[in-house]
């Protein structure tokens, strides 16, 4: 039951993704062709608002609802950030979707995107399989 709150946050996030058309293949095309500010505005303003929120949480030592200290783990650079990033970028432009929008597209009635999602899960699995052999 304690996971219901994440279901609700996810639901609100899904509504935003559809209402702002972030899940549209056309919007991604427009972004990569530099023909609209829409996607840049969304990602940029999301980053700014998130950054300010995190600074406020840190500055004022705001605790979670369970009175825990908020923890954000540091990420360590590895070459996967580069190689994996480039591969993800290729897929992003082809499918017009990153993982979040895939779920929203399916909910939106594009049931065929379940195939894309299944393929993405397979991609993740193959990464797990080959992980030790890949440069990091």
């Amino acid at each position: 039951m304690r996971n219901i709150k994440y279901l609700i946050i996810g639901m609100l996030f899904g509504i935003i993704l559809i209402k702002s058309q972030v899940v549209s293949w056309f919007r991604i095309q427009e972004m990569f062709r530099l023909q609209a500010f829409h996607m840049y505005g969304i990602i940029g303003s999301a980053i700014v608002v998130a950054m300010i929120s995190i600074q406020i949480i840190k500055r004022f030592h705001i605790k979670t609802i369970n009175h825990e200290t908020v923890v954000i783990h540091d990420k360590k650079f590895h070459w996967g950030n580069v190689w994996g990033g480039l591969i993800f970028g290729l897929g992003w432009a082809i499918t017009g979707a990153c993982p979040g929008p895939l779920f929203a597209q399916i909910g939106s009635g594009f049931l065929v995107i379940s195939v894309t999602l299944l393929s993405a899960i397979t991609g993740t699995w193959v990464y797990g399989l080959l992980r030790d052999k890949l440069p990091h």
Binding site: I4, L7, F26, V48, I62, F88, A93, G100
Partner: protein, 187 residues
Amino acid sequence: MIELIKQPWPWYVAGPLIGLVVPALLLLGNKTFGISSSLRHICAACIPANISFFKYDWKKESWNLFFVLGIALGGFIATYFLSNPGQVGINPATITILQHEGVKDFSGLLPADIFSFGQLFTLRGLVFMVVGGFLVGFGTRYAGGCTSGHAIMGISSLQWPSLMATICFMVGGFVCTWFILPYLLQL
């Protein structure tokens, strides 16, 4: 109010709202925003196949699966109760280029002449849905995150590896859109 909600939302409304998901998750349960991990948890739960990368207690991370289920539910609600966005008002210049490259259907969020069950067993459909999906899933895990985990959560918490990853997402996307997609669309 309801009329406003039913319109497509501009970037300056949607972006800040997405940004607020980050503190909401942190304060509700010390969770860091990220979606691609859900794909890993699904692998760990369904087909771990004795691969060490999938041997961990995924149930501890099950909040993430509720989160993505919520996204699908939100997609349903927005589409069926808060007006279907229908045709996306993209730049006419983009439409002209895409028409030139072979896209015909501009009536929905996705072009049905590429993304539909009827197209699934054509070469083009297979490349866009199956190969594209594979690259998304493989790349995001290799990179250690996607647009949510790296671009939004990572950059906003000042993680420079996330900035690197995000730059690479964009480079990969630009290269694909300008140099590869025109050929893929002709398939």
